[in-house]
Symmetry: C2
Subunit: 150 residues, 2 copies
DNA sequence: TTATATATCTTAGCAGGTAAGATAAATACA
DNA sequence: TGTATTTATCTTACCTGCTAAGATATATAA
């Protein structure tokens, strides 16, 4: 790809990220969550259970913030605190993924449908291009995040 | 594209959005901005000057929050309040895009370089695929945001 | 056993958000 | 024209959720 096109696509990818961010925040507000809480609900669905410390490390939040976050989610019965019998200091956060999903789903349904419709427009080969781009970009952003986040 | 692949790609696109979000927040913290402020600095670079009310409408923040946001940026000389001579109630926010860019650039340099390197791996035709995906997705997310954000 | 390290929680203080009302300027209309 | 209404932004009071630092409880090391 030529330099001009590269710069154009880089801009587009920035704009994509910005739009995603805007949309997620708007949906969070609508669903009655703070932007942070909404973000980590998705995180739970993806990762399943983890300890409070792991969550703090992954998110870059302090342990104090994590305590508050778990408290809020627990009050809504979206997660449950359990304790590691082998190390009773540890708090294992057990998400109720179904309940989380069913709570968020109404707000995403239309968007997800339309995303799927959009993706169906792409051919098998085009799909591979997108896949390659996503995978490499995700790796790059995760690396950048990890580097910066210490 | 087949249904299976569609679902896989939808997941990837979600993960992409999440990674972008994480990275942006980490960079914001590093650069000494709140996540919101960082987000809107990029917004200013992209859109140029606008009125406080336009910014409130575009962001979904209340006018009170916008007043605070402009105050913070003005204190850092990143934007300047000017007044519309034809309607003196209006506050026109004049961003100092160069200063904003030079402030953020160090934190993005490496990432942008690597993104460009990654994009160079794609052919002309593949570039068109990515472009199409981005443009349509951005339109879709913007529509979703606008719908939800009222 | 005692010291140290680790995982999470608690507390105090702060930053930035909202809602509601204040202010000032523009517009509409009798 | 003068008065009422609307509009754009700012101010204020209050609230939420973050950090930093220290407390607590448990695990590990010496």
């Amino acid at each position: 790809m030529e330099t001009d096109k590269v710069l154009h696509l880089r801009k587009l990818s920035q704009q994509y990220a910005f739009s995603a961010l805007q949309m997620h925040e708007a949906i969070a507000r609508n669903a009655g969550f703070s932007s942070t809480d909404h973000k980590y609900l998705g995180f739970f669905i993806k990762h399943g259970s983890m300890t409070a410390g792991e969550l703090a490390a992954l998110t870059g939040l302090t342990t104090g913030a994590i305590t508050g976050l778990i408290d809020r989610f627990e009050a809504l019965k979206l997660v449950k605190r359990t304790y590691d019998p082998r190390d009773r200091r540890k708090v294992i956060i057990l998400p109720n993924s179904k309940r989380i999903q069913s709570l968020l789903e109404p707000f995403y349904r239309k968007f997800q449908e339309e995303t799927e419709k959009l993706l169906k427009e792409f051919s098998e080969n085009e799909c591979i291009v997108l896949e390659k781009f996503f995978e490499k970009s995700i790796a790059l952003m995760t690396k950048t995040f990890t580097t910066v986040n210490q």
